[in-house]
Symmetry: C2
Subunit: 83 residues, 2 copies
């Protein structure tokens, strides 16, 4: 399944707690879209969030955010992973 990294630049700070709640809503919503949110990274001070997911399309990935909590990504990238 294609892999996507999305970015949210909130401008103001954000707490891990708030993002964890939004992520829990994503997990509760994703199955109906065929999406699997894998992990995320948060810079609390900068209000920057990165979400990594497997999804059939970028639209499907963003629909999960929209349905779960309304905080859609600023950008979403179709990525390949290396290590």
């Amino acid at each position: 399944m294609p892999l996507f990294m999305d970015t949210h630049s909130l401008g103001d700070g954000v707490t891990m707690d708030d993002v964890a709640k939004a992520h829990a809503a994503d997990l509760a919503t994703q199955d109906s879209h065929g999406v699997n949110y894998l992990r995320y990274w948060v810079d609390e001070g900068e209000g920057q969030i990165f979400c990594l997911c497997e999804a059939p399309s970028a639209d499907a990935a963003n629909s999960v955010h929209r349905d779960a909590h309304g905080l859609v990504a600023d950008r979403i990238f179709a990525v390949q992973e290396g290590s």
Copy 2:
């Protein structure tokens, strides 16, 4: 050790091969800076790269890129990981 996600927006496309070579240079350079590059994600068409690393500081992380291949990040974020 602190965790950082950096972003490179190259504008033009980039190949996984080229990024893999740069990453190999990072791995060969990182020990002297006390840095551990963990994994990375690439959108070849958009020329967008995300690098995740453990480092004592953002400066140390960026110094690895500078010494290894000169392609320093556009931005670097001090992140916490969730899943």
